[in-house]
Amino acid sequence: MSGDDHGHGHGDQSRFIKHHYDDAQHQFDSGKFGIWLFLAQEVLFFSALFVAYVLYRVHHPEIFSYAHKWLDVKMGAINTSVLIFSSLTAAWAVRAAQLKQPRLLIVCLATTIVCACAFLGVKYLEYSHKIHEHILFGRYFDPCVSPGGEELLTKNNECSGAKSTISWDPGTGKASEGCFDADKHDTDIKLFGIQADCQVFEQEPYKAPVLRGSATHDCTKTREVFASVEGSGGTYTFTGDCDTLIIKGDKNQVTIESVKHLTVDGAGNQVTVTKVDDAKASAVPADPKVKVDPKHPAPYVAASTITFAGPPVEGKYPPKLGPTAGEVKPDQGEKWRDKVEIKNQCPDELLMKLNAHQSESGASKEAEAAPKYPCWRPAYQPNVCPDQTTPEQHAHGAATKSQFGVLVEYNDKVERGDDVKIRAECKEAPAPKPLDAMATANKPAETDNQGIHPIHIASEHEEQEIESLGPPPEHTSMFLTIYFLMTGLHGLHVFVGILVFIWLLVRAVKGHFTPDYFGPVDFAALYWHIVDLIWIFLFPLLYLIH
């Protein structure tokens, strides 16, 4: 501090030599010793993270070998060389300061700053990609793709391409949407394919059209299965197979080719259904407002007439009327309809990818024969749902947990928002096998036996490859926790380094540094070297695991 000017000055020495030091050398030596202690402190500060790294890697090698493939070695290598180069320029800056080369000093300091910024820029790219793909730590770990580029299911359905889950609930015997087996999944490729026998559809929303005045509407062409008529006194024609129609207005002339669910709510409507072959129309809602046509013993809306023009099919009359207007409010919200059936062909597709990976030529034929997407397969979703396996199923050993889970997985690269639902119609879950039956089934069985599809017995190398294609092993988020902690703390040090070097640059421009007084440059360069050194450890430990 300039205010602390003390009696004994330091002669012709730099004005930055503080009064309580004997001379410039004393100040420099003290600073140097201080910065070395600080660096020792830094090493200890980082050491806890290295200890955590060693501990978790020893205990869970599989998550490290799986998850490190998410890291881009190219990016890491670029950063390594950028940092090493900046260490060189930092060291050169010290030399420039010692030799009284102010211009070189400024150039070196500026280069160091630019390199440090480049490092953080690359880090930004890496981080933002991981944030986008939910390849994050702890609770936020919800990856959209596996390290092998395979689309994965996410908890929140936030990623393009990866969608909802269906589970077979053994309690109710029905498929339900959303959750399946929680904590364990079977990473063994041989057991892929165990699943409940389901038919799975992707659904899409649509808004029911509301018709007024007079209109002709083709249900088949627009694939709209739901519509309502709200106008009065108009003439409407519905062609094609309609799913649900609601007529709210009064005194309309409505001609319908075919309909599954019909609600007539208004008064004085004349409704004619020309094709009455709805096989699914069986139940008749007991709605007092609906009056029955004399020809057909079904209820009808008061003051409306519904004529069934087509030939009656025995036992199929009348078409199901309803839902009633109170139950369906087409103008208020969305309705879902099946868009496309999703084939269960994913296990083969996984194998196909593997084969294509191994030999480009040999796999091409199989790849051409590969099923079209989308498809679905049993899979794993981390930490979402409780275990639904019953103790009996455990005891029989047949009920592997993935049995109750199917992952619906798209690979058609179509961006989907939140407006996609999955619907499943499932048959019974496979019955648990008795133990002796299991013993025979454990031989490499090729048959489709009670839902088990043993698709491939993978070699060790293949398993590793498949591993990176498949869903993550348990607690994979720990790798990312460590990755983000280590690189984050390191990045913070780089950021602080940038601030320090900017401060040095300002002082260098002002010409503060002389051969007598260059301590700050030297100390900052030492700090920069340790930051570099830590990265040189981090790069192989995180990016180059094999």
């Binding site: 501090m1 602390d4 003390h6 503080k18 009064h19 309580h20 004997d22 004393h26 030596d29 003290s30 010793f33 201080g34 202690l37 600080f38 020792a40 402190q41 830094e42 200890l44 500060f45 980082f46 050491s47 806890a48 993270l49 200890v51 955590a52 501990l55 978790y56 869970h60 998550i63 730590f137 702890g138 609770r139 936020y140 930490n383 348990e474 607690h475 988020s477 720990m478 926790t481 460590i482 983000f484 902690l485």
Partner: protein, 573 residues
């Protein structure tokens, strides 16, 4: 009592060389106003600000101690419910450990005394020193802010997984501890550089006062252990804030890893607390027994070896935390080795007392208390180091009593002794010696009354940190509570008469106790840069040429050679 002594009344035959009248203003009066303190770079002023912060924290932590002792007067609810009780012992522990004992001797008294003992004008990095202080203030503020932000009920150890689940203000506390940690690191770094680079010419490593050896060992630990605490509480903060899972078994994390990290710091921290106390005791015993310290080199080396061994024994806090059997045995064996340097120190102090010209000043009373209390604390530590015994005694009042004997009975007593020893030097005022002696006795009696029954209780199975207890323990708890109040009242009176001495105390001479180290050559209070003229180096702990010219006033006689000619002093600067 000391007669009013002025510097110009010096007997003719004892005319002293560098101790003439002081012309420069002392550091307390060289500048005035709030800013002159808030932005001071003077190590003494920074040390004094620390000191008053620490005394305030001591009163705060002591209040919590008395509150929780009152609560334990009877089984069941006495004054507060169990949740509040949890907050009481947590805040008592956190405040006492992080705000009082760790910075007590190094940051406060060390800051004031260490550079003067070295004959240096200041510490190596005065601005770093000031920023350490502000880090301390910020950390302390955050730690105290936990009270309005929902309290803290994790215990000072902040063990996971509870510290991840509790709704109390853990993040505020961990951020506070993080700042306090870096305050400690920077102080240690500063001291290491100062001791290395600011020793005067002619003061080799083995001419250093033992206090400085102790501060050196402490600083090594502060620089090497505290960063691990820093990263640990940082991880805990991030874990609570960002759910990263590193300590959360549900996400594959390991809660015991937290214990390892925590004790990797906090065991050395126990020595960060005790070693400066040992350094002070070496100074006090030598000075008040008028004898050179017995086995100087061994005492010096034992400080360093304690510092090194302290890094190897953290696992003895975790014998029942699921460590492997091998780790338990290794840690247990290493724990016993700590007894060796500790015993070396105690034996050397006792040997120093032997045939000494003992003066029972307040400082000496505290030093003697230290000897007794540290011996009890150290020996009971060996009980706990035995694996089988530890399983029985773990988390009982036996442990509580043991570490209070070390942390309070030793460190705080040494702090009080040091405070009384150097108080006249840096305030320029003599405190009330009679009150001082009575309070020293009060602290000793109160302390033992508080904690001796806890050994018995603990051995009989009373678990620590419990709000309620079986009636069979009530007598012990009541004795303990009475002792705590004796202790509390003694400490309160101590703080009062010390502060009162600013107004009522007599002016202190340069050397009231006949100390031989360099700080007693500095003016009282020291000037801004500590010495008007470079101090003269004498043989360390040689009291032969120091003479008490009047009560509480010592002067050094002129050294002469065989012919009676004055030997010119060696200036170092």
């Amino acid at each position: 009592m000391a007669t009013p002594a002025t510097h110009d009344v010096i007997p003719e035959n004892l005319k002293n060389l560098p101790q003439g009248p002081v012309t420069e203003p002392d550091f307390l009066h060289v500048t005035r106003g709030f800013k002159s303190w808030a932005f001071t770079l003077d190590h003494k002023r920074i040390g004094m600000m620390y000191l008053f912060g620490i005394l305030f924290s001591l009163l705060l932590g002591g209040t919590f101690a008395l509150l929780l002792r009152t609560e334990l007067w009877a089984p069941g609810k006495t004054i507060v419910g169990p949740d509040t009780y949890n907050q009481f012992f947590t805040l008592h522990g956190s405040v006492m450990v992080f705000l009082v004992i760790i910075p007590g001797i190094p940051a406060a008294l060390g800051n004031i005394i260490m550079p003067i003992q070295l004959g240096a004008p200041d510490v190596a990095f005065p601005r770093l020193n000031l920023s350490s202080f502000y880090l301390w203030i910020s950390g302390a503020t955050l730690l105290i802010l936990t009270i309005p932000f929902g309290g803290l009920d994790t215990g000072w150890t902040l063990y996971t997984p509870y510290s991840l689940e509790t709704h109390s203000a853990v993040m505020v506390a961990t951020l506070g501890v993080f700042l306090l940690g870096f305050s400690s690191i920077f102080t240690g770094l500063n001291f290491l550089v100062t001791i290395h680079k600011f020793r005067p010419q002619g003061m080799g490593w083995f001419q250093l006062p033992l206090n400085i050896w102790a501060l050196y060992g402490t600083a090594v630990m502060q620089v090497l252990a505290t960063p691990v605490l820093g990263i640990t509480v940082l991880l805990l903060t991030v874990e609570r804030f960002g759910h990263i899972g590193i300590f959360d078994p549900a996400m594959g994390g390991d809660p015991v890893l937290f214990q390892h990290f925590f004790w990797f710091y906090s065991h050395p921290a126990v020595y960060i607390m005790i070693i400066p106390g040992m350094g002070v005791i070496s100074e006090l015993i030598s000075t008040y027994a008028r004898k050179p310290i017995f086995g100087y080199r061994f005492v010096a080396y034992s400080s360093l070896s304690l510092a090194l061994l302290s890094f190897l024994v953290w696992g003895h806090h975790m014998f029942v935390s699921g460590q492997s059997r091998l780790a338990n045995m290794v840690f247990s064996a290493l724990t016993f080795t700590v007894g060796i340097p500790s015993a070396i120190k105690v034996f050397n102090w006792v040997a120093t007392l032997y045939k000494g010209d003992i003066r029972l000043k307040t400082g000496m009373l505290y030093a003697l208390s230290f000897l007794l209390l540290f011996t009890i604390g150290g020996l009971t530590g060996l009980f706990l180091g035995i694996l089988s015994v530890d399983v029985h005694l773990h988390d009982t009042y036996f442990v509580v009593a043991h570490f209070h004997y070390v942390m309070m009975g030793s460190t705080l007593v040494a702090f009080l002794g040091a405070l009384h020893h150097w108080w006249p030097k840096f305030t320029g005022k003599m405190y009330n010696e009679t009150l001082g002696r009575w309070c020293a006795i009060g602290v000793f009696v109160g302390f033992n009354t508080t904690f001796l029954p806890q050994f018995v209780m603990g051995a009989r199975g009373m678990p620590r940190r419990y709000w309620d207890y079986d009636p069979q323990y009530q007598t012990f708890h009541q004795i303990s509570t009475i002792g705590a109040f004796i202790l509390g009242i003694s400490l309160l009176i101590t703080v009062c008469y010390l502060v009162a001495s600013f107004w009522t105390g007599e002016k202190a001479p340069r050397n009231p106790w006949g100390g031989s180290t360099l700080e007693w050559q500095a003016p009282t209070p020291p000037t801004l840069y500590n010495f008007e003229t470079p101090p003269v180096l004498h043989e360390i702990y040689n009291y032969d040429d120091l003479v008490e010219v009047s009560p509480d006033r010592w002067e050094r006689i002129i050294p002469t050679d065989a012919d009676g000619a004055v030997v010119p002093p060696k200036a170092h600067h």
